[in-house]
Structures are given as structure tokens and as C-alpha cells.
Amino acid sequence: MNKKSVEWLYQELPDLIKKGVLTQETANNLKTHYGEIKPADKKWFMFFLYGLAGTILIGLGIILLFAHNWDQLSRSTRAVLSFMPLLIGQALVFWVLFKKPTSGIFKECSATFLSLMVGASIALVCQTYNIPGNAASFTLTWMFLIVPLVYLMQATIPAAIYCIGITAWAMQIVWNDPLRSMLFWPLIAVIVPHFIWSLRQEKYIVRATMLSFVMMICVLLGAQWTLEKSNNWPSSWIIIGPCLFTLFYLVGSYKFKNSSTNWQRPLLRIGALGIFIHAFFLTFRFSWDSISSRYPYYYKPMMSGLKTLPGSIISILIVTTAILLFYDFAKRRQLMKAMFGGLSVLAVIAYFLTAMGAPKALAMFLFNAYLFILSLTRIILGAKSNRLDIVNTGMFMLATLILARFFDSDINFILKGTVFILIGIGFLLTNVMMLRKQGVKNEK
């Protein structure tokens, strides 16, 4: 049960005892069962947020002050000055390690501050000595120097800064050096143990949520920029996209702790949304046209031969992990999860069928059928378990699919009309049957 419901229950208890609904003993049993609500949680959250916002603003402010470039200062003064932010940041972290080694907020804020100060320090040196090169090399040095803080201080914001930095680096160098940009994957993998730790420790607390968002965006951008250009598969996004969203969705489906509100489970929600959007786009012909030679642009990978090996290995790793996760959920007979995750398998099959010359209409049909069955299952399961939110999302998915097909010019009117009427009749029949069922229940 989530915390809000427990809070409500505890508020009700005295009244329930008074009215004789519960005995004092049962009330006590309930309290032992659900445990104490920590009143400090909310306070902690506010402390954390304000502390962090303050730290980040001060850190960025210092960087901006340095960026002004004070030309009254001599070269040697500036060289000495460039160590100041660094030393202050380090002193702060030292102090926290000695005096507040157990305080999550202090650790997080000091590590974030030091992370920003490392950037300020290198930036000032670059400025003083007119160090050449674009932001890529600067960012990479900066990120290497802060990543140990993530593990030393168990700090999530430096982890997020690192993810963003690595992604920005990969996006900058991919045009000149696509092979080196593949280092994005091992570099982002460095954060994974911390990410899993943060999910396990305080899964539904703001920092795990924040890192989930950042990780998802960075991995998606990284995949879009590095893999598509280097694995030598035309339109590999048809496979990579669905597999990545399957990964997000299924990893988010694992229960690291008791469930909580929706916004605190971004992996699950965004994963599901991504799966739906991908499946929806794959019902259109234009998605599949890119595999054939109609768009020669897609056929021009930036690399060839052995150089494509790292890209291909990482693509295969992503696909295999997604399919293994899908298999795990299918084996445990978690119907809804497995059906969402099934997109990865379907995408792989449809991609290879089409690449081997099967008509595109077959792939389009497969994804239409998939979305149709997925939304129907969702509606049915939602209706069975009396969950209106599930029914509604199912209905929304189905409505989107139907609308898209109604305006599709590829299918002839007679076929379209007949299918529409059949689905309409199906809906009405289900409705009538459900109403009758409910009527019977009410009469009883």
C-alpha cells in the first residue's frame, strides 16, 4: 500500500475504534503490519531539493563569473585562481566525509558542488592559456575527474551530470570520429551499478526518479547518435528503439520495493509510452520504406568493415537483453508486461522478414494486429480488475490505431469499411455483455 493510503488509514483508526468497528488490538496489529510512517520524509525531500538547487545555482554562478574573463588579472593570478574553486569544493567534501558521513543530503550537495567546481577550474585554465579544441575534450576530462565522486559519496546528481556530459561528448565527436563515439556505451555503463543501487535503496524517492529520467534520455540520444551511424544496418532504429523501450519498461516493472505513485516510476511509464509510439509508427508504410533502397540516405553508414563491429556488438547486446527480459516475464506469465515487452521480438522478426524481401504490408499488418490485441487485452484486463485507468489507456490506444487506419489511403474502402463495422459490432456486443453481467450482479 502506498504511503498516502497508510496515512489515511492511521487517521481513521481512532474513529473506527471509537465506533466499535475495530478493537484496539486490531488497530495495533494494523500499525505493526504497515509500520511507522516517517514524518521526516517530507522534510528530507524539501531539504534535499532546496539544498541541491542552491548548490547547483552557486556552482553555475561561479562558472559564469569565471567565464566573464577578467583581463585585469595577470596570467599567474588566474592560474592560482583556477585552483580556488577546486580546493573549496574538495575541502567541503572532506568536511562532509569526516563530520557528516551518514548524511545523504550533505554528501549529495557537496559532491555536486565539487563536480561543478572541477569544471570551473579546468575552464579557467583553458581560458587563461587559450587551450584549443572544442567542448568535447574539455567535457571528457571534466567527466573523468568527477565520476569517482558518484561512488565515493553515493551521490546521484554527479552521476546525472556525468551521464549528460558523456552524451554531449559522444554527440559532438560522432561526426568526426564515429568509432570513438562508441565509447559512449562503456562510459555510460560505469553509472549502471550506482543506478541499480539508487533504485534499490530508495527506489521511489526523488533522486532515483531524477536519475531514471536522465539515464533514459541519455541512452536514447546516445543510441540515436552513435548506433544508427555505426552498426551498418540500414534503419536499425526499427529494432533498437523498441528494444530500448522494452528494456526501460521491463526493468521498471521489477519490484525493487513496494509500488508507489506513477510519476515515481518513470522507467515503467515512459517505457510503456515509448513502446506504444514505436508500435504505432511501425504500422505505417514510411517506417518500412527506409529499409529498402527508396531512401538511399539511410543506406550510407559512416563506417564499414571491422569498424562497425563495436556498434554491431552493442546493438546485439541491447536486443538480446530486451528479449531475455521479455522471456523472463513471459515465463512468469505476467501477461500485460510480456505483451508490452513482446514488441522487441516482433520488431526483430518483422525487420528481418522485410529485409529479406517479404512485402512491407506483412510487417505493417503484424504491427496493426499487435497494437489491436495489446489494446484489447488492456481493456479486458482493466474491465476484469475494475481498473478504469487501464481500460481508458487501452481505449485510447485502440482509438488512435483506428483513427490512423481510417485516414490511411493504402487500404481500399470496402475492406476498411467492413473491418470497421465488424470491430464496431464487437464493441457493442462486449458492452452489452458487460452490462448484462453487471445487471445480474446488481440483482443478486
Binding site: 562558472i63 569565471f66 567565464a67 566573464h68 574573463n69 577578467w70 583581463d71 592560474a79 583556477s82 585552483f83 577546486l86 580546493l87 574538495q90 567534501v93 572532506f94 566525509l97 569526516f98 558521513p101 572541477v118 569544471g119 577550474s121 579546468i122 575552464a123 579557467l124 585554465v125 583553458c126 581560458q127 587563461t128 592559456y129 587559450n130 587551450i131 584549443p132 579544441g133 567542448a135 574539455f138 576530462t141 575527474l145 569517482p148 565522486l149 565515493l152 568526426n176 570520429d177
Partner: protein
């Protein structure tokens, strides 16, 4: 025990974090002190860097080299050595670009850019000159105004030691750009 490990690992990190900017500074200071001075003709333009501040980007004239000066085995992205000579006007010129380090002659480590049919670009390690926020756009304007009046006479002075170059100053019309801006401000 655990705390001890954390503190010792953190101490190593502290040293590494200090050593990185320190080594960057030391290498450049030694070049500035001991390197040989060259003047490269350039054209400054004004872009912006969110972290490091404003700078004028330098388009070094010598960064485009005719193909007959370049060793034929050099390809895009490869590291190479640009041999430097001084012309009769006192400006640095590139006599050739090779894959092997020259002996006894001044050179600059460069990276091969894009190859054309007649010439090729080299990525010069001298591409930006940081200036004060308000000074950088004025520097560009000054240069433009000046270059219309007479011959383009902007150049950077660069100290070079063992193939490593560090910019010393940017000059427009024979004057250091910062002094020129100050003089313009007083007028």
C-alpha cells in the same frame, strides 16, 4: 575501516583533480617561457562558449596547405607535423607537413583535416583566443573595420616548444588587441 578506504580513495581523487589543471598549466608555462616565438596571420571572429566564456575564433591563414607540401600517405584524422619557416615579412609559414617528426627545425603537431583536390586543411592547435566578455565582440568589429581599410594585418604570436604551441597574444594593426580596445574606449 570503510571510512578509511573512502578517505584514502578520495585523497587520490583530490590529487588527480589538482594534478590535471596543474599539468595543463605547467606544460603551457614552460612553453611560454622556453618556446620560440612565431607570428601567424589570422582572421578573428567572435563565437561564445557557455562554460569557458567568450573568445575570438582564429582562422589561421596557414591552416590551408597546398597538397604538394603534404606527404601523400597522410589521411584525414591522422596526426602529423607541420614544419615552420619564417618568411621575409617575419610571419610563420608552413613549408611541409609530414608524418615524421622533423629534426632540428621548428614544427607544430597538427591533425590532418579535409583533403581537397588541390589543397587540404590542417587542424591547427591554435584556434581560439579568450577575451573579456565585452571585449571579444569589439575585437571582432575592430578587426573587420581595420581589414577593410588596408591589408589584413591581424596575427597571433605563438610560443612553440617541442611541437606544442601556446598563444601569447593577438595583434591587430601591430598593437595588442587588449591595448587597442582600451585605446578605442578612451577615444
Amino acid at each position: 575501516m570503510k571510512n578509511k578506504i573512502i578517505i584514502s580513495v578520495f585523497s587520490c581523487l583530490v590529487l588527480l583533480q589538482i594534478a590535471t589543471p596543474l599539468s595543463m598549466i605547467m606544460k603551457r608555462e614552460s612553453t611560454l617561457k622556453e618556446g620560440t616565438l612565431f607570428r601567424f596571420k589570422t582572421a578573428p571572429v567572435d563565437p561564445f562558449d557557455a562554460f569557458r566564456g567568450r573568445y575570438v575564433a582564429l582562422q589561421i591563414e596557414e591552416s590551408r596547405v597546398s597538397l604538394n607540401k603534404v606527404s601523400p600517405e597522410l589521411e584525414h584524422g591522422q596526426n602529423a607535423y607541420a614544419h615552420i619557416v619564417v618568411d621575409k615579412d617575419g610571419f610563420a609559414k608552413i613549408s611541409q607537413v609530414t608524418a615524421l617528426k622533423p629534426k632540428g627545425a621548428p614544427y607544430l603537431s597538427v591533425r590532418i583535416g579535409y583533403k581537397g583536390t588541390k589543397d587540404m586543411t590542417i587542424d591547427f592547435p591554435i584556434d581560439r583566443y579568450y577575451m573579456e566578455e565585452n571585449a571579444a565582440p569589439r575585437a571582432e568589429k575592430l578587426y573587420r573595420r581595420h581589414s577593410r581599410q588596408d591589408a589584413k594585418d591581424a596575427y597571433v604570436t605563438v610560443k612553440i616548444k617541442d611541437g606544442f604551441g601556446v598563444i601569447e597574444g593577438l595583434y591587430v594593426a601591430g598593437q595588442k588587441i587588449e591595448d587597442l580596445i582600451k585605446a578605442q574606449g578612451k577615444r
